[in-house]
Subunit: 332 residues, 2 copies
Amino acid sequence: MASGDEQSAEERLIARYFRPLATHPGAFGLADDAAILTPPPGCDLVLTTDGVIAGVHFFPDDPPDTIGRKALRMNLSDLAAKGAKPLGFLMSAALPAGIDERWLAGFVAGLGADAERYQCPLLGGDTDRTPGPLSISIAAFGAVPQGKMVRRSTAKAGDRVVVTGTIGDAALGVRLRRDDGLADRLRLPESMRNHLRQRYLLPQPRNVLAEALVQHASAAMDVSDGLAGDLAKLCRASAIAAEIDVARVPLSDAARAALAADPALIETVLTGGDDYEILLAISSERFAPFRAAAGHAGVPVSEIGRLFAGEGARFMRGGKELTFVRPSFSHF
Amino acid sequence: MASGDEQSAEERLIARYFRPLATHPGAFGLADDAAILTPPPGCDLVLTTDGVIAGVHFFPDDPPDTIGRKALRMNLSDLAAKGAKPLGFLMSAALPAGIDERWLAGFVAGLGADAERYQCPLLGGDTDRTPGPLSISIAAFGAVPQGKMVRRSTAKAGDRVVVTGTIGDAALGVRLRRDDGLADRLRLPESMRNHLRQRYLLPQPRNVLAEALVQHASAAMDVSDGLAGDLAKLCRASAIAAEIDVARVPLSDAARAALAADPALIETVLTGGDDYEILLAISSERFAPFRAAAGHAGVPVSEIGRLFAGEGARFMRGGKELTFVRPSFSHF
């Protein structure tokens, strides 16, 4: 019996695990119905939402600290591609009964570390028990100078096609995770296996490039559903055609070794997704200052092709067009 | 085989079912990574998130058009209680394989009707297949004059405790839905059964009161986890005590009839939740103009008790304090 003045188990859980992440004054310590956010003067608010479901976007036995971080970083990557500076996030967590306090402690430790690292505090949330798999849905908010969000639809004929970092690592990491014998068959040394798996577990969103993208890019998006499918989306949005030189797509040593052992993995590399790199279109005059800014920020960038009038995104290798069985990751 | 320039099934699904709801110019027709929202000058942005999971927040065979509406209205109710005018929402939909296009068409028809009715357009989203139950998570955004969000923590000793509408209908509606024989045992006529079920299926958020709350309320929250538990939260947030006269808690004819047949249902009425009415604290001088504004908007309001220095929320009936087995709905 209780007279209604005791905290519920849900309130205790929120107070213990999630409140410490709600460092933003507008979060009111998660003790109100809603949060407040005031974009900096002269800025638009940029909004994005993305989530992860156990067994779909991560393996249920992945380390708990990586799961919240991955969910947050997927959203941070969208903000980065749009040129937006992170301001904060809302989180909906659906937790199955089997989740224990140790798991939760690990989960919030990772999430909290990233919230601090990317200066993107928790603003509010919603916590439910689910009979289904664990799932985390995040809505993240960023600020961009008014009217300056970097769009998908503003790429121009003559622009160069550029990507950050390396492509295909995470998709290869998933293949290794699903197929225990694959790493041996590909003769990948331990360090390369770890590199690919780590790239899958923990994306490295390119938020340090946000300002340079606003200044220089014609158009941009993050690579989450595979380079081939995402470039096709950018081309459709901008009503333009792309031709990519597959030999110039930047690869890690591990991806290069995997491809040397099994050239058919090129489809996984170019279409598998989970890269969380930035794909951008940029004019020739702007490329040098953008590359300099990226270099200053420690992010490698590679020109991989060109845009021209027309439609479709073609991946060329040795004068021939590559075709894919499944050009883009799709849930449906 | 495809060269990467065709839309994926996921893109087609989004274009067909969700794009028509994305009427806000900042949604970019759901064809970008993110949306843009610019709060009106002099306003703070109010953010909230809430979601529904099949089998937890609704019955899997509830009509599809009510499911998206309920998810949106739960969030609209939070905005209403904070005095915020709706601006738009983000939605994450996790759909099991069994969901067909007819279900989806019904779902978006209901959601679209409410987005228009409450002037709260879809800004962006995320759609996934899930091996688990259908779940919809919404993050909704509203505007409130800067610094004027109605808080939970600002109730004062001497304030009246007021609720809108009637309390307990939805919780009784769930009981009827779970127990086929209950309506007969309670001897409820068909019209009363329908009233209670409908109140569960489709909340009526009090967004028409947002401005009056900003002008007059000391503190407010929406009643979603049951009046008893939510009042206890408001008292804790404001470091204050409440005494409620149970006889003054507003009840529908149907709830009154159910209680007459089984007085023990008072616990369901006061703690069951899903009311989506507004609970507010208001000074005596402000109550008359607030009641007039609410009357003008067609919303009944009832004074049910008082706040005073101290702690705890007491529900008094015939000079004795009611106690509850489970004072608040909690998922944990």
